[in-house]
Symmetry: C2
Subunit: 402 residues, 2 copies
């Protein structure tokens, strides 16, 4: 797809806002002034960073209405509108628009592809300037804080000193928490949905299965498949299938598929007899058309490395010590077994201990982890209520056409 290239606005942050410096909604790529590098937790750096992003709405005169959406593992900046690869609606279309929790008529909404991703931001499929070839496994390992650091560079480059809200689900929620911890003065409110403050052994285990599936595919070629003109599609599809099971609850799978067959009678062979098999195979087969196998390795690794308490002697509250002025909203779903409610409760307890204000809602749903992407009116209502209150506190309601 053709991409518009945006360059970093040169306006100092304190300068008068100039809406012409805000890129129009579309598929933009930020290149940073002075070829600024991204400093990584590993000690490495990424020179010539590019961050692909999209925006909706207009930054107001106060630059106070910006909302950053952080995406999950396999999602991207195409939150609403039509996805350029799949042709399907964006992944949070239902939350964005008139009468919805986020509205381009009121909010300036930003979403960027994470560093390490494969939808336009610098990642392992990008060209390594040192070799002229795709980075592959020479790409440095990245972390959730690295992703957030790249976003902070983007937000700063867009001339925004303080975000009205940072919001995300799953890995997006991890970024939300990291934003609040690392840039509390730049976050007015933080909404963390279906997420966790660290990856558990089971989380790591499932990701490791996925990585091993990719790496077992001979077409992975030690990560150098791009040069060989092949792709480890089979391995990546298996990885996706395994992961996809963790996104759904057992009751949801049972309700959706049960033991329903694809056709009359069993095949007495290894075709997809059951609808759930066919569904999973489809999930695997379509995923490889839109996702890069090495990005899958890097992003799952970032999630596995995530442990907010680790840098604070295991005391999670310490991570949020400077974030007590941020307004937090934490949502979990009863049937989410990937990041179950106790993980969200641990966040809320830590926020309370840190003196931050936190709303917490556990939403009764049998849809599993993916509930945050699905039709959950209680989530919509919770978000609407939270944003309404936060907008009032931020002074955003005055002067806006209702």
């Amino acid at each position: 797809m053709a991409k518009a290239k945006a360059t970093e606005p040169t306006l100092p942050l304190a300068a008068a806002p100039d809406s012409t410096t805000v890129p129009a909604s579309g598929d933009e790529v930020m290149r940073f002034a002075g070829n600024r590098s991204l400093q990584l937790d590993s000690g490495a750096e990424i020179a010539g960073l590019e961050i692909a992003y999209r925006t909706w709405g207009t930054l107001n005169a106060d630059r106070s209405n910006a909302v950053l959406i952080c995406h999950a593992l396999t999602l991207d900046q195409h939150v609403t509108g039509t996805h350029p690869v799949t042709g399907k609606p964006g992944w949070w279309t239902r939350l964005i628009g008139p009468g919805k929790p986020l509205d381009p008529a009121r909010h300036y909404i930003i979403c960027s592809n994470v560093v390490g991703g494969c939808m336009g931001s610098t990642g392992p499929a990008s060209i390594n300037p040192a070799t002229g070839k795709a980075w592959g496994l020479a790409f440095p390992v990245i972390t959730i804080p690295d992703m957030v650091r790249a976003q902070a560079m983007l937000v700063e480059a867009l001339g925004i000193q303080s975000l009205f809200a940072v919001v995300g689900g799953s890995m997006g929620g991890m970024q939300v928490l990291q934003w609040a911890a690392d840039y509390p003065e730049r976050v007015f409110s933080a909404i963390c949905i279906a997420s966790a403050p660290r990856h558990t052994a089971q989380n790591i285990a499932f990701h490791e299965v996925g990585r091993q599936a990719v790496m077992a595919d001979p077409d992975w070629r030690g990560g150098a498949y791009a040069e060989a003109g092949v792709r480890p599609d089979k391995g990546l599809a298996v990885a996706r299938m395994a992961a996809h099971i963790t996104y759904l609850s057992e009751p949801a799978l049972q309700r959706k598929f049960g033991r329903e067959l694809q056709r009359d009678g069993l095949s007495w062979g290894f075709d997809a007899d059951f609808q759930v098999e066919s569904y999973l195979r489809h999930q695997g087969a379509t995923f490889v058309d839109r996702f890069d196998a090495n990005s899958y390795l890097y992003i799952t690794r970032a999630m596995d490395y995530f442990d907010m308490a680790a840098a604070h002697d295991g005391v999670l509250a310490e991570a949020f010590r400077k974030a007590r002025d941020v307004r937090f909203c934490v949502l979990s779903f009863t049937s989410d077994w990937l990041y179950p409610t106790p993980e969200s409760r641990a966040v809320v307890r830590a926020l309370n201990a840190a003196g931050a204000r936190a709303s917490f809602v556990e939403i009764d749903s049998d849809k599993g982890h993916d509930a945050f992407l699905l039709d959950e009116p209680v989530m919509d209502d919770a978000l609407k209520g939270f944003f309404a209150s936060a907008e009032q506190a931020r002074g955003l309601t005055a002067g806006l056409v209702k």
Copy 2:
């Protein structure tokens, strides 16, 4: 390994017992008189069936003390003693011996490798007499009732008209239930542990991931890897890793591994940083040394096809209508999310509705599905109590040295 070959005793079942016709404990293979075929649910049949089995103890004069142990997916007939391939102790060593629930001093214990398996019974790695090559995917699809039918042939050939007990966990428990349903007059007591009366959508989904991992390995060669002199070890290892996660509970993984590292500090790469990664890789790597990839496909398929109520218009109780004289013991574990307690409860409800007597114990354990193989004294006690009562009812206690 060298295998002793046993032939079917020609004694009619009603004849006086002759202990010389009972093979001594060891690694035996039953070939059936008259080259008897195994009739399969698919309509196919397996000619020249061979069933590998082991026995412990002696069949008593009444032939009333025989216990059939049914093994789980990746286990085999080496219940106790030393496993010939791994050199490790058998998988239920802790339940067999003096002072344990099953004791060769009192019981004649039998365990056979399931048909479709790879430890000596006829399976996809066996030679297809029609071609002189390994069956591979030409092997017919088998079911849990097929496995039980093969066991019934073995038990009959061993001169046993009625088993004192049929006992098994996981897939072994499925066979136990099927025994009671199909051969109620030949089963005095049935002990079903950590099992289910059908595979759910989530169960099928995990198995399908495993099968796809095997079939994605180019060394699988459409199942004909034996002829090619290769093995789909990488795919099978990934399948094992994915399955292994389902055998453990999240708390058990967290307790055993948490986020503990393999060495000081992160690798900032894709080595096994976390102990749980290393553990899973080890599980995958060692599994391929003792298991055949095609057997894995066939046995997982048999489990996915398993649905005891299906043949009875969805009414599970109907499956047990003729089994009301069988004494049932059903055990489940609180943290087993593969076959959670509600599945066992469904069995117990059906047994009650069918008028059968059923003991049910849900054992509080955080060890997950694998609890049935691990140190769970409450399980041992429950089994001891159940067997003591059943032995008394069977008249087994008289005349035995205590």
